[in-house]
């Protein structure tokens, strides 16, 4: 058993489809020779990659924090929509250093951080910033996960069919990928929010907004996954085990979903991990522009746009939500990179 000679290099990515393609082949070769499956090898490599492990832990913590947002807010903060105007100096709208002696000249550029309010309070309303950021994680991750799932489902289905069937079906689907990539995504998202009325499919308010954003991302971003899946399927369908299944009289559906799809799980997981941060940024951008999540539901993008006019007097209000987005996206990116390197035989033992 040979150990990796160097830590996987985060950007040493080969042409994507190719890399994972070889990975699937390597699985069989290596699995036979030293009884380790590709997943075991990858896991061993991943464990040696400190950056990936740390970012993986951060990702898990973020997900836990999002799920446990109500608990965290209860223990360490205040409900995210509760006003604390006793901490706000009324004439400037900024948090005060010493709420007992209100004075317009005694405002705190760091938002009156205290044991009750770990990250201080929002200007004007005095809502607890910590719990708003934790609740913001909920929305952000929810939208990112749902939209990624939609991308993956659409992309996998269309990619696998295009790759397996070939011919005119492949041509049509591949052209469609080009078309979908040619749309100005953000403009469309903004437009849709303006066009779709309240109450469609029984959705209103933020349910509807989340629905629209998820639909837009899923509907226009599936080609990224589809391209990878198609490339993989193209080579998988020529392999012996597919031929064997076919000669045993297996149906197309069986071959696609029982024989080929299991071999695609790894690349799909790797690229979904890299799609999540993109989708987080997209939701944040829409909320920043005021067409994403509606207030008073906390969202990082909206917080940043609220902070824009105040950034000189309340820098913390820019920094905390900005950092929340940055850390989350960075963690997912680093973890995704690490995952890809771990599964990539070219960064090999």
């Amino acid at each position: 058993m040979s150990a990796p000679s160097h830590a996987p290099d985060s950007a040493e990515q080969a042409e994507q489809t190719d890399a994972v393609n070889v990975a699937t082949q390597a699985r069989e070769v290596r699995g036979d020779s030293d009884n380790r499956s590709l997943r075991q090898i990858a896991w061993q490599r991943l464990r040696k990659d400190k950056v990936a492990m740390v970012s993986g832990v951060v990702v898990v913590l973020l997900i836990l924090a999002a799920i446990c947002a109500p608990l965290l807010a209860k223990w360490f903060g205040a409900p995210p929509t509760q006003f604390h105007q006793d901490l706000i100096e009324p004439s400037t709208g900024l948090p005060m250093k010493d709420p007992a002696n209100p004075s317009p000249f005694d405002t705190d550029p760091w938002g009156a951080i205290s044991a009750e309010h770990l990250l201080g309070v929002e200007p004007v309303t005095g809502r607890d910033l910590f719990s708003r950021i934790v609740y913001g994680a909920q929305i952000s991750l929810l939208v990112a996960f749902l939209s990624t799932v939609l991308c993956v489902v659409l992309g996998t289905l269309l990619g696998i069919v295009a790759g397996y069937k070939g011919g005119w079906i492949d041509t049509v689907i591949s052209r469609a990928m080009d078309v979908f990539l040619a749309f100005p995504l953000m403009l469309f998202a903004i437009a849709l929010v303006g066009v779709i009325p309240e109450g469609v499919l029984g959705l209103t308010g933020n349910g509807l907004r989340i629905g629209v954003i998820v639909f837009i991302i899923g509907f226009f971003n599936w080609p990224y996954i589809a391209r990878i899946v198609r490339g993989q399927t193209l080579s998988l369908r020529e392999r012996e085990f597919v031929e064997a299944a076919r000669s045993l009289g297996a149906s197309n559906r069986h071959i696609l979903f029982r024989e080929i799809l299991p071999n695609l799980v790894t690349p799909i997981i790797v690229y979904s991990t890299l799609l999540i941060p993109t989708n987080i940024l997209f939701e944040a951008a829409l909320s920043f522009l005021g067409v994403g999540i509606n207030p008073p539901t906390p969202s990082w993008g909206k917080m940043l746009s609220d902070a824009v006019p105040l950034y000189e007097n309340a820098p913390y209000f820019v920094v905390f939500p900005g950092l929340a987005i940055f850390v989350t996206v960075l963690a997912f990116n680093l973890f995704g990179d690490g995952l890809r390197d771990a599964f990539d035989p070219k960064t090999s033992d």
Partner: protein, 337 residues
């Protein structure tokens, strides 16, 4: 070669047609499916709070009660031949290509859009030049000096670059570089033709901010591509026959690496030309993206439709330009085409 050009042109036109159809579908058909009545649609198009009579007039004027196919024909006719709208006794013309007529400002959308195009174009081209040169240069250097301090620093920075929302970097830049340290002037957009120096000063920060995000992506991609190519046999051959390292890197390795980069470059420039919404918002630049956002806030739907369509046109056109550049970059295309 001519064959190739004609085929790309044809594909571009087809793409344009599909994009138009999808845009139409989103603005006219989807709301109907979602249960919006013709009057409701009219309300989205007139803006402000209209009277029932005004709504009926708009329904009539835009043909919103017509079957979808008729509306689509009318929409396409407007694009190709122009349209006329009657307001009581007055008739307004929306010359071809009529991207729509804003009932809020009482003017066709296209001229307003073109008014703002210089701002967005300045932003797009300036930033694009910085990010393609910067990104590729950093990527090549990183690949050549793989594992060095420079490589790690550059790739670390690039990862930060792709993970930062542009409105966050933009805000930080404004807060520190403009307001705190006063390195850049606080001022509005100045046209290039009026005062090139002021234009440059105003645009510099938006350029760098926008370019940083893209350059990061390009650097990562270039590095990955270069590393792959540098492992190829023909590179070893080139080195073995005694070519200088510079020649190997720039002539033999960089060229195949650039092909996919140029493809993305075309898409990105097209996308930014259609409105760099976030950058324009953060830096208060009055470009196409800001126009779209204002329109959404003011519920001026024809403008949103116009901007969307225009944005798609830019992407298609830029893609076409890249397609036509391909044979120059990649001789295989020349022979195959």
């Amino acid at each position: 070669m001519l064959n190739y050009i004609l085929r790309r042109l044809g594909a571009g036109l087809l793409l344009l047609a599909v994009v138009t159809a999808v845009t139409f579908w989103i603005f006219y058909v989807l709301p109907r499916w979602a249960g919006v009545t013709p009057r409701g649609m009219a309300a989205m198009y007139v803006g402000k709070a209209p009277t029932p009579e005004a709504l009926d007039a708009t329904v009539e004027r835009l043909g919103l009660d017509q079957p979808v196919a008729m509306q689509f024909l009318e929409f396409v006719r407007g694009l190709l031949l122009g349209q006329e709208f009657t307001f009581g006794r007055e008739t307004v013309e929306c010359a071809a290509p009529c991207l729509g007529y804003s009932f809020t400002t009482n003017s066709p959308v296209l001229p307003q859009l073109l008014d703002r195009l210089p701002v967005t174009a300045s932003l797009a081209f300036g930033a694009a030049i910085i990010w393609i040169i910067g990104g590729v240069a950093v990527g090549v250097l990183s690949a050549v000096k793989k594992g060095s301090f420079f490589d790690r620093l550059a790739m670390g920075t690039a990862l930060v670059g792709v993970s930062m929302p542009i409105y966050f970097t933009g805000l930080l830049a404004l807060a520190f570089l403009v307001h705190k340290w006063e390195l850049f002037p606080v001022s509005r957009y100045v046209p290039l033709s009026e005062d090139p120096v002021a234009w440059f000063q105003v645009m510099f920060l938006p350029w760098v901010t926008l370019a940083f995000l893209h350059a990061a992506q390009y650097a990562r991609q270039t590095r990955a591509g270069m590393l792959e190519v540098l492992g190829e046999d023909y590179i070893r051959t080139a080195r073995a026959k005694g070519l200088s390292e510079r020649r190997v890197i720039f002539k033999h390795a960089l060229r195949p690496t650039l092909t996919p980069i140029v493809t993305i470059f075309g898409l990105d420039v097209g996308l930014v030309l259609g409105g760099a919404i976030l950058t324009e918002t953060v830096f208060s630049l009055n470009g196409i993206g800001a126009y779209a956002i204002d329109a959404i806030v003011g519920k001026d739907l024809p403008v949103v439709l116009g901007v969307t369509l225009m944005g798609a046109v830019f992407i298609v056109v830029c893609n076409l330009v890249v397609d036509l550049l391909y044979p120059v970059l990649d001789p295989r295309v020349r022979i195959a085409g």
